[in-house]
Symmetry: C2
DNA sequence: GTCATTCGCTGACCGCGGGTCATTTTCTCG
DNA sequence: CGAGAAAATGACCCGCGGTCAGCGAATGAC
């Protein structure tokens, strides 16, 4: 009977994964606004009621997707950190990695941003939410680590509060990303047409110049990162 | 009969305003998530169907509210511009004015950010949307004007693309503001507790240092703005 | 082999919220 | 007052998140 129980548990986990996969495919083909429980159920060849046996709510399902996506970013961050010599370059490389993931996985990133935008503030608990937050904290930790490294090697000013500075970086980049998400609306509604993609290189320059002990080094670091990866540049 | 027609038009306009006022009161007392057409109708002592005689959709009603709020910001921007000597100081003063309005009118600002977060991308047309966009463009124009002034007087580097830089400023500040909107969730979900309010002074320092021809002047300008208005500082 | 129990699953159903429209009420003017 | 227009109504539709009584198949005891 432990055999049976084990199999049961494995099958349950497999169902859960298949539901997540169904949700991902709906996201890919129909986008966030069409990500309804009915559509997910249809894609998973299950009834809607069944979904609620595996996820407490739609929010929890989305949180599970978000946790998965956030986890996928971490190896890229590690790779980025490995290629950079100074702490300042590490910060820039993390931002580049973020942007590149953005470009290469548009559906996932659109989801993450749409989900953050739609997230209802009051209730945000449950295991999947906690998993998501853990991944975010890991990412922020890599950023704070890079800033600390930069302070130690002299490439980053040492009069900055590390953790607050990491959040300022993270959040201001989020604003830039939001604009890219709404690229078409942005272009339509502004006086002068402007590709939101073009804002990221500028943001990188601005950020690194502000962090650098020597502004010229900030500029050089940003330029090196952008020419090394022209796909993400303007 | 022109008398009658005039009165009719005035009454129609008054109804429209009373609906907007009702919406504003619902927003104040119940928040964005409770801003339903039924609640607005109840607050305006009208039936729901009547609302649709004055606004095409809920989106249009919200756009009208947003246009009104965006318009209220413009005089503050003008006042901020008048107090600053250099272009760099003007940029900082505009950011401060934004932050102060944020603090003094929390309900309106919460609405603006909630609305932006919830806004559905595809369809965004209609007269109220255009009015809103016009106000935003006016605001951005004041920012580009300040940057140009700074280039002219030597306080801001002249190798920056003015318009793109204005947008980078605007959008990165938006990210900071979003964090402040979710202040409590932010504190709960991060490793280290941190008041989101504390991020704005840091953001101001970072931004002005990056823009300034002389980093020291950027730092001094930010410090002067923050000590001059301690309510908005950390 | 039989039968009671458990387990996974179903789909009809609910409430809410945005949006519609045939009907009724109110106003205007001859 | 009465005809026609304008304004307002509220019952109604649909899509969506979420619920639950019940059904059928696998399981295990005898």
């Amino acid at each position: 009977m432990p055999d049976t129980n084990d199999r049961r548990r494995r099958e349950k986990e497999a169902r859960r994964e298949s539901i997540l996969e169904a949700a991902r495919s709906v996201l890919e083909s129909r986008g966030y606004r069409q990500l309804t429980m009915d559509h997910v159920a249809q894609a998973a060849a299950l009834s809607k009621g069944t979904l609620y046996l595996y996820f407490e709510s739609k929010e929890e399902l989305c949180a599970a997707l978000a946790a998965r996506n956030a986890g996928a970013l971490l190896p890229h961050f590690d790779a980025a950190l490995a290629t950079a010599r100074t702490g300042l370059a590490q910060v820039g490389a993390l931002m580049m990695a973020w942007s590149e993931h953005f470009v290469s996985q548009p559906a996932q990133f659109r989801f993450m941003l749409d989900w953050m935008r739609a997230e209802a503030p009051p209730k945000g608990d449950g295991p999947n939410f906690r998993a998501y937050r853990a991944r975010v904290n890991e990412s922020v930790a890599k950023l704070t680590g890079a800033i600390e490294a930069g302070k130690a090697d002299g490439s980053i000013r040492d009069d900055l509060p590390t953790y607050a500075q990491a959040l300022q970086l993270w959040l201001s980049s989020l604003g830039i990303a939001l604009a890219r998400l709404q690229e078409e609306p942005l272009q339509r509604r502004l006086e002068h047409p402007l590709h939101a993609d073009g804002l990221f290189p500028l943001h990188l320059h601005t950020t690194l110049r502000a962090l650098a002990t020597d502004p010229a080094e900030g500029r050089a670091t940003a330029a090196a990162l952008l020419t090394g990866h022209p796909a993400a540049a303007e």
